[in-house]
Structures are given as C-alpha cells and as structure tokens.
Subunit: 258 residues, 2 copies
C-alpha cells in the first residue's frame, strides 16, 4: 500500500474525511453523496454499502443519521485498505465505531457472500453504486460496445439479487445509475423490490438527466413513481442549486419528511 | 348509432373539431394531445394511430403537420363511426383528405392485422394511447388488482409488437403511459425500438409524474434518455404553463427543433 498516492479530502463541510487514491475512477464524487441522500433522514438501522470504495456514501449516511451503523463491502483490496485508513482518521472518530469493513465479491454465491459478512435478511437499507458507472463514462457515449455492455443485464441483476438477499423483509434498496441502465434496473428490481421511486438527476434545468436515483422496498406492491428531477446546477455556472447543495453537504435527504 | 349522445368539441383553438361520446372514458383529453406532440414538427410522412378513438391525436398531428397523413385504427365500432362523423365535419374539411379510418384489433395476428390495414413496414410514425390508461384510473390507485393488471405486460407487449411490425425501418413509435407501466414499456420496446426519449409529465412543479411520454426509433442503438419533465400547470391554479399551453394547442411539438 505504500506505493499508491492518496489524498485526504473533506466532505459535508468538514464533518468527515476520506482517504482516497490521488487520481482515478475510485475517487468519490457527487455520485456517492447523491446515493447517500436516498437514505431517509433519521434512519437508525444497519446499512449495507455494496461497492463501497473508500466509504464515501456510507460515511455520508452516518454523518447525517447519527444512530445508523454501516457495513462496507468492497472487492478491491486497495480500496478496503483505504477504507480502513479512512476509519482510523481522527476527524472521523465520531463515526468510526459505527463502521465495519469487509473484503467481499458482491456477485459471489450465497455461501461465499455470507462468509464475507453479506448475510441474508440482515440489513435495513442497502445502497449500491455499481462500478461500471465510472468505467463506461470513459467510453464513447454512442459506441455500440458501451451499449451492449450496459444492456447485458448481468451486473445490476447480480447486485440486485445480492441486495434482495441481505435486505430485511421490510428493508430498502437504493442505487445510482445512468438513465440508459433503466431497463436493467427495472428487470433487476422486478419481483424483489417494489414501490420504486425514481428521481432523474439533471445537470441543469433544461438538460437531459445524466443519473437516476432509485429506491425500492423489499416485496412492496406499491406503484412505481417518477419524482420531480433533482437539478444540480443553477443557471449556467458551477454553483449548485440550493437543494443540491443541501443534499451534497448532508443537510437533508433526497425526500425530506413533509 | 342514433342512441349514443355525442358532443362536437373544438381543439387547437378551433382549428379542428371532434365528434365524441357525451360522457365516458372515450372522450379525448389532454393525453391524446400530449401524445400527438411526440411527433416532430414538420413531419410529412404516414402516421398510424393505434387505438385512435374518434381521432383526437391524429387530427392534432395533421393540424400541426400540414403535409402528414394519418391512418386511424380502432377496435370499437362506435368509436369508428364517431371518427367517420368527425372526418365529415365541415370544420375538418382541410384535414379530411389526409385521414383514413379502419376497424382493427391491434392485438390480432399479422394476417388479420394486415387485412384491417395494419400492413408491415408501412408507416413512418406510430402513436398509441393504450386503452387501460383510462380504465385503471378509475380504480383505487393502490389496489393490488390494478397493479397486477398493469404489470401483466400483455397489452403493451402486444401493441409494441404491432407497432414494430407496421413501422418502416427508420420509423418512430410514441406512447403515453402511466409511470407504473415503465417496466412493461421498456420490455415492450426492447429489441424493437431504441434511442428512447422518456419525458415525465408532472401536473405541477413539485408533484410526481402522472404520465410518461416515450418515443423510440425502430432498430436504433442509441442510449435511452430521460428529458426534463413537462410541467402542465403553473402554481396551484388550473392555468397551463406556457409550454404546456403551446403543446396542447398544437403550436409546437414536445421537443421543438433547437
């Protein structure tokens, strides 16, 4: 681990920090923070973070929900080590005893998953930021190969299967994906999670969505809903909208209690 | 036909009229006008209108696109008769020679469909407003029965199959549906239509979508997109937003040329 360059970055206006690779796709960004915002305000249960990286989404949930605890599951030994360094940061001392970290393959069979801590019917909320989100963004947006890769359905199907397995009977599952994965998403949720709420994320008011946030409830028969979009930036500048700023800084969830 | 009470209603600020049942689910409303707006401005090809009712969506396309022609396909003999009366109205004389009307079962097999005018590879744009849109809205929004009815996948699957059959190789297909039919929709389009553009329709700025408009292109490998929503009403009143008013009155398509 001595040979990977890292940075220590501050999130939620200094309320927690992350130890991250200095460069590359594993650096946490807006996606992880948006995903964390799917978890309801006041959540006080046990969170499973599938593909946790160095822990950005989980720490963002713990920072906003003071009674929650989180289990991180990550296949990269490097990222697991950075998550451990993150947990050990003095700036994260108020969160550290609510975090455990596991080296795990989300797509493994049930017995192997359970050995890595992904036990059936265990978690109250599961969140996932599947890895191809970054991988595909570096390809040509219109290449057929990228399309085929996204639409083969394996990744979201396998992650959804694992999420349904480890989720308690009334638990929730939230994912962040690109819009073109909508077909895979609905196929993966079908028969496992219902009552889906889909929130398109638009860079600006008049631009197509670049991400979708989705939350479903295990076994729910409620109808799918499409909420008003989350708009990230106001006008044409780099400033976040008031709502996006509050969400990204852990001041509110995506759907605050009304 | 003498025994059904009808009204003659004006659309597009008087630019065409419809002969419709005085009451009931077959009366055309905002849905038909929104569906018509999926067809691009300047469209000059041959439109197929699946489940045309008395012709609202088709006439709205012909009223906006002066070189287009339309074939209406409808299973109800009553509605076919009203469509014929609609075509015969003197107020529609400028549209009548671009309209033909067919009694047809959209879900019939290929040979029967062709006999009713639904011939393979014939149409440049297909539009559809499947009948359960109205039927289900009168049920409890949360009933499991309604959910099962919507999610059995048969209607949208069969209508999409017919749409793909009658559409020319570079033709388009547009539908209006409720958000909870999104799973069926994507399953029905898969392998038939790509480059889908999904536009959520919200009653108001901060309310969940109540309809989705979707357009796909036959055989396209382009990625699915979710556009900014169409907001119907401004503030809390009954007034339409400027954009919705222009769309509903045939002054512009859903996506005007930029």
């Amino acid at each position: 681990m001595g040979h990977i360059a890292t940075t220590i970055d501050s999130f939620h206006r200094g309320r927690f920090v992350l130890v991250q690779p200095k460069t590359g796709a594993h650096r946490a960004g807006v996606d992880a923070l948006l995903l964390s915002a799917c978890v309801a305000d006041g959540f006080d249960g046990h969170l499973a973070d599938l593909g946790s990286g160095s822990g950005a989404a989980s720490l963002a949930v713990l920072s906003r929900c003071e009674k929650a605890r989180a289990s991180l599951f990550e296949i990269s030994e490097t990222m697991v080590e950075l998550a451990r360094q993150t947990k050990a940061q003095s700036n994260n001392a108020h969160l550290a005893d609510r975090v455990d970290i596991h080296l795990a393959d989300i797509t493994a069979n049930g017995m192997k998953r359970a050995e890595s801590g992904l036990s059936p019917n265990t978690f109250d909320w599961v969140i996932a930021n599947p890895p191809f989100n970054e991988a595909d963004d570096r390809r040509s947006p219109h290449s057929e190969r990228a399309f085929a890769h996204v639409m083969d359905g394996k990744t979201i199907e396998l992650w959804s299967r694992t999420a349904a397995s480890v989720c308690k009977s009334d638990g929730h599952f939230s994912m962040i994906l690109r819009p073109q994965s909508l077909g895979e998403l609905l196929a993966g949720f079908m028969g496992r999670f219902g009552g889906m709420r889909i929130t398109p994320v638009q860079p600006r008011l008049n631009e197509d969505a670049t991400r979708i946030l989705v939350t479903g409830k295990k076994g729910s028969k409620q109808k799918l809903q499409i909420t008003p979009p989350l708009i990230l930036h106001a006008g044409t500048g780099r400033d976040f909208t008031e709502r996006a700023d509050a969400i990204i800084n852990g001041l509110q969830s995506l759907d605050p209690p009304s």
